[in-house]
């Protein structure tokens, strides 16, 4: 039991690491979002299965920004503190498209293998 738990956690971490970039890029595709919103969306849409804390989310955001895939910008709205919104750059759009199709073929390949064989 304990063994399964550890395997599952390692597997989980690796999966998250590989797919984290794809998740964030997808979330800012439709419109710019700030960090807290992004982390909330990941948590709610995955129904709590995936969760990024501050210490992992922001380094990731900064890395994506550094690569020029997303761009952060301070936006002030009346009656609110200013927030940093991230939007997808055109470079990011290309990356998202290619990561998305790679992910889909990967999932399809895994599915083909893991589907129960027909007797």
């Amino acid at each position: 039991m304990a063994m399964t738990h550890i395997v599952s956690r390692v597997f989980d971490r690796e999966l998250k690491k590989g797919s984290a970039e794809l998740l964030i890029l997808s979330l800012v595709e439709a419109r710019p979002r700030h960090g807290y919103e992004i982390s909330k969306l990941i948590e709610t849409r995955s129904k709590g299965a995936l969760k990024f804390n501050v210490a992992s989310l922001y380094p990731l955001l900064y890395r994506l920004e550094q690569r020029g895939w997303i761009q952060g910008r301070w936006v002030e709205k009346a009656g609110q503190r200013r927030r940093r919104y991230y939007r997808l750059t055109s470079e990011g759009k290309k990356t998202l498209a290619s990561q998305r199709s790679a992910w889909e073929s990967f999932v399809a390949a895994i599915n083909r293998i893991t589907e129960p064989e027909q007797a």
Binding site: G35, N53, V54, A55, P59, E65
Partner: protein
């Protein structure tokens, strides 16, 4: 609410981030944590639980800094942190400065245009000065190259050297490493089509060697070429090579006929070579000096000059003393010929720019003034603008901005303006250089090499930077000196006239003074030109055509030349539209070519040094009628007296007055030479008016006219009096001459053109100085207007109160006018004093007007004051339109 920032900072501590970047990260994460904390709390948890869970957000596999290390670029040392923050500040200032300038396009445009005018004018003039005065000559050890001439005296300005004198100079002086002679000459080049007369030069074989020249084709002269009896050889210029031989390398070994003699071309000089004039053909000087040649006599001074190189370590004064000592020896040894000849040593580089140095220095001072005025104007604009920004800057100071930081930001803005002005000025300068090149006559300076090059670019960048500092520093320092407390209290209201007003006023005074100096300079040049055009040249300039030609010695001997003169005159005078024509050896205004000493029969012969000289001018009959020179007494030559038997002469008034004051000169006798002369006595048959021979600004010398039969050479000038515009007849006149000799080359000008050329230097100075002065006047006007407009806006409430209390509109108008005219009049006073000193520089360019001409000074003062009055009156009128109610409500 817990304080998250400290927590985050602690975790980032070891990362050494850029402070600005760190602030961004802290703010963003802090916000996230605060949101999360709220959310946990609102889910019904205790504060302690919420705090614990929020803190967990910051946990990761290692310290947070470790995770961030990858995406965040780090800083490594304290020094680079500071550097980065300086650069970050500068970048921020630049962007902020750009935004500020774009927010006030009117201010920016005026400032940039003002600077561009100043910087552009400086760039253009500096490019000329660099090329003409500063650029080193392209010869080895060029600063040791000098030219030796005789000293010349008041009576005989002729500076050529006699050949025996040269040989003695060469052998007896000890200051010179090497010497070479050169004589300019004109050659008729036949056997090229069409035949041309070209400027040439006879040189010693080592002339080119001294200048370090290498032939691009063939070879240059060797010692064996440079002696009488050697095979005649020639080298040609690059331009002549291309023009006449199509740049064919096979030109070496070809022959050309120069004045009928056959010369073999041995080499082509490098492109662009020219020294004291353009020359197409060079031949060895030694070829000329066959034994017994006239030019080998000591008494014959001709246009022979000596190029010499000073020995290393010998100074110019030492060389001068050396040559003077030798000349004095020669004077003792040959008193008959060498009395008063002396010797002069001048740097080659100085001779090359003799005529234009003064013009250029005057112009450099003038453009310097214009740039200063431009700076003053922009400073004023900046000061006025700084007042408007006082509140903004006070807020920043109050919030803790350091003064140094604010000065840096204001200076960045002024440097930005200076940079824009510099770029625009460079473009303007490049354009002006082209205009200048077309304006400056090539006789004054060769301008084909003037262009924007690295030194000129550096100069422009330099003056732009200095300009930026000049007009930026004062406003920046004053602004940063603002006391935030008092100016914040005054925020929203205009501040008093106090210190800003004083600074603006002092600048106005400076501006007006500078403009006045320039205007006085231009005014003096205008008066000079006016005086020059009023000078009577002594003959009728209108409808007079002049032609120059070279009769080849090969084809024409003395006899045939006289026949040609006679025949040519007859045919020309038969042409419709030609009233009369006459040959002469030297044209007026072009310098006399035959200056000789003379004595008169009825007076004792004076000592050698006091023997008078006169310009002896051989002419054909009809000369006086053709030129329109008035006859004062006696008669002129008749056609039959042209063969010079008996020997007559016609003299000018000056000669008559000088030799026979109060007597009738007619019937008196004179002859050329000194006491031992064997020349024939000539009877004076007529006295005519004086003619300006050496330019309008020079006194007419003593003149004596002789028939052409006495003396004539291949270099002839022809004057033709026409009915109407002379150049319209040039074609038919040239055709008629060519019908006599189709090989003759002709150079045709109207006398008007020649007259214009003699004033070229003054006209150029006037044109440029006047342009700059007008520029200065406009800038000064704009400056005064700008400051007064600002002052009127500032005093609006005061005016309102005055009006409300019963002041009349006239009182208000006067109030403002007095405020503006005070600094103007002070500036006029100071400027007059400065101009009094500065116009001495112009002395060498002036004619008929003193550098301190009261009329010019007064006229300029009135002009400048009037412009200032208009510039003050416009804002003052606006002040009278102030509605007291509106102005007071503002308060």
């Amino acid at each position: 609410m817990p304080e998250w920032k400290q927590e985050i900072r602690r975790r980032l501590a070891n990362l050494n981030l850029d402070p600005v970047r760190e602030e961004v990260i802290v703010e963003e994460m802090e916000q996230h944590l605060a949101d999360y904390y709220e959310e946990v709390l609102s889910g019904g948890n205790t504060e302690a639980e919420a705090y614990r869970r929020t803190l967990a957000e910051l946990q990761c596999s290692g310290p947070l800094g470790h995770v961030l290390r990858q995406p965040e670029p780090q800083q490594h040392s304290e020094g680079s942190t500071r550097r980065r923050s300086v650069i970050a500040n500068l970048w921020q200032d630049l962007r902020f400065g750009c935004r500020m300038l774009m927010k006030q396009p009117g201010f920016t445009l005026i400032a940039v245009i003002t600077l561009a005018l100043g910087i552009g004018a400086n760039t253009a003039i500096f490019s000329v000065i660099y090329t003409v005065l500063l650029r080193p000559l392209p010869y080895p050890a060029a600063n040791r190259l000098v030219v030796l001439t005789t000293k010349g005296t008041q009576l005989d300005p002729f500076k050529g050297v006699s050949y025996p004198d040269y040989l003695d100079w060469r052998d007896r002086t000890r200051s010179f490493e090497e010497t070479a002679c050169f004589v300019d000459d004109v050659f008729n080049v036949t056997e090229v089509d069409p035949a041309v007369a070209v400027d040439g030069r006879r040189v010693n074989w080592n002339f080119f060697q001294m200048l370090g020249l290498k032939p691009q084709v063939g070879r240059l002269f060797a010692p064996s070429d440079d002696q009488a009896g050697a095979l005649p050889t020639a080298t040609i210029s690059d331009a002549f090579w291309h023009e006449k031989f199509g740049g064919d390398a096979a030109v070496v070994g070809k022959t050309i006929r120069l004045d009928g003699d056959v010369f073999t071309v041995i080499g082509v000089l490098p492109p662009g070579f020219e020294l004291l004039g353009h020359h197409a053909v060079f031949v060895p000087l030694g070829l000329w000096f066959t034994p017994g040649h006239n030019l080998l006599k000591r008494e014959v001074q001709f246009q022979l000059y000596v190029l010499a190189r000073l020995k290393a370590g010998v100074t110019l004064p030492q060389a001068r003393a050396d040559l003077s000592a030798v000349a004095a020896q020669l004077e003792r040894e040959y008193p008959q010929t060498n009395r008063g000849r002396g010797g002069a040593v001048d740097r080659l580089s100085d001779l090359l720019v003799k005529d234009v140095r003064l013009v250029l220095l005057v112009l450099l001072s003038a453009v310097g003034c214009v740039l200063l005025i431009a700076c003053v104007n922009v400073t004023n604009l900046m000061l006025v603008r700084a007042v408007g920004r006082e509140t903004e800057l006070s807020v920043r100071l109050a919030l803790g901005a350091r003064r140094g930081r604010i000065i840096q930001q204001l200076l960045t803005e002024s440097m930005l303006i200076a940079a824009l002005g510099g770029i625009a000025g460079l473009l303007l300068g490049a354009w002006s250089i082209r205009t200048l090149s077309s304006l400056i006559p090539p006789t004054l300076v060769q301008l084909d090499q003037i262009k924007l090059n690295t030194p000129v670019l550096l100069f422009t960048v330099g003056i732009s930077a200095i300009t930026g500092l000049l007009f930026g520093l004062l406003p920046a320092l004053r602004t940063a000196d603002t006391n935030p407390n008092t100016s914040l209290k005054k925020a929203g209201r205009s501040i008093g006239r106090s210190s800003w007003g004083r600074a603006c006023n002092s600048l106005l005074v400076a501006e007006v003074s500078l403009a006045l100096v320039l205007l006085v300079g231009a005014g003096l040049m205008l008066r000079t030109l006016q005086q020059l055009t009023r000078v009577d040249p002594g003959f009728d300039v209108a409808n007079l055509l002049t032609l120059r030609s070279q009769l080849s010695n090969d084809v024409y001997n003395d006899e045939r030349r006289l026949t040609f003169f006679r025949e040519c005159r007859m045919r020309l005078e038969a042409l419709p539209g030609v009233r009369s024509a006459s040959f002469v050896m030297s044209l007026p205004l072009q310098g006399a070519s035959w200056n000789l000493p003379f004595i008169v029969a009825d007076k004792p012969v004076p000592p050698v040094e006091a023997i008078p000289h006169a310009a002896f001018i051989p002419i054909s009959a009809n000369f006086f009628a053709t030129m329109g020179i008035p006859l004062r007494a006696g008669r002129v030559f008749s056609e039959t007296e042209m063969n010079d038997t008996p020997a007559f002469t016609v003299i000018n008034e000056s000669l008559a007055r000088r030799m026979w004051p109060g007597e009738n000169a007619i019937g008196k006798h004179l002859r050329t030479g000194g006491a031992d002369s064997h020349a024939a006595w000539r009877e004076v048959i007529g006295v005519v008016g004086d003619v300006k021979l050496n330019g309008l600004e020079q006194e007419a010398p003593l003149q004596a006219y002789l028939p052409l039969a006495v003396h004539n050479s291949g270099t002839v000038k022809l004057v033709v009096r026409t009915d109407g515009e002379p150049l319209a007849f040039s074609k038919s006149i040239e055709q008629t001459i060519h019908s006599l000799d189709k090989d003759l080359t002709l150079e045709t000008h109207s006398m008007d053109e020649l007259l214009g050329n003699t004033m070229a230097r003054q006209r150029l100075t006037l044109t440029l100085l006047a342009t700059l002065a007008v520029l200065a006047l406009v800038l000064a006007g704009i400056g005064i207007y700008g400051v007064m407009s600002f002052a009127v806006t500032e005093r609006r409430q005061e005016v309102g109160i005055r009006l409300a209390l019963g002041a009349t509109l006239r009182d208000v108008l006067l109030l403002i006018l007095v405020q503006g005219m005070k600094p103007t009049l002070l500036g006029v006073g100071l400027g007059s004093a400065a101009a009094f000193a500065a116009t001495r520089l112009l002395r060498g360019l002036l004619y008929g007007v003193a550098p301190t001409d009261p009329l010019t000074f007064a006229g300029v003062a009135v002009l400048l004051s009037s412009v200032a009055l208009v510039a003050c009156w416009l804002p003052a009128r606006r002040a009278t339109k102030v509605d007291p109610l509106v102005a007071l409500r503002y308060e």
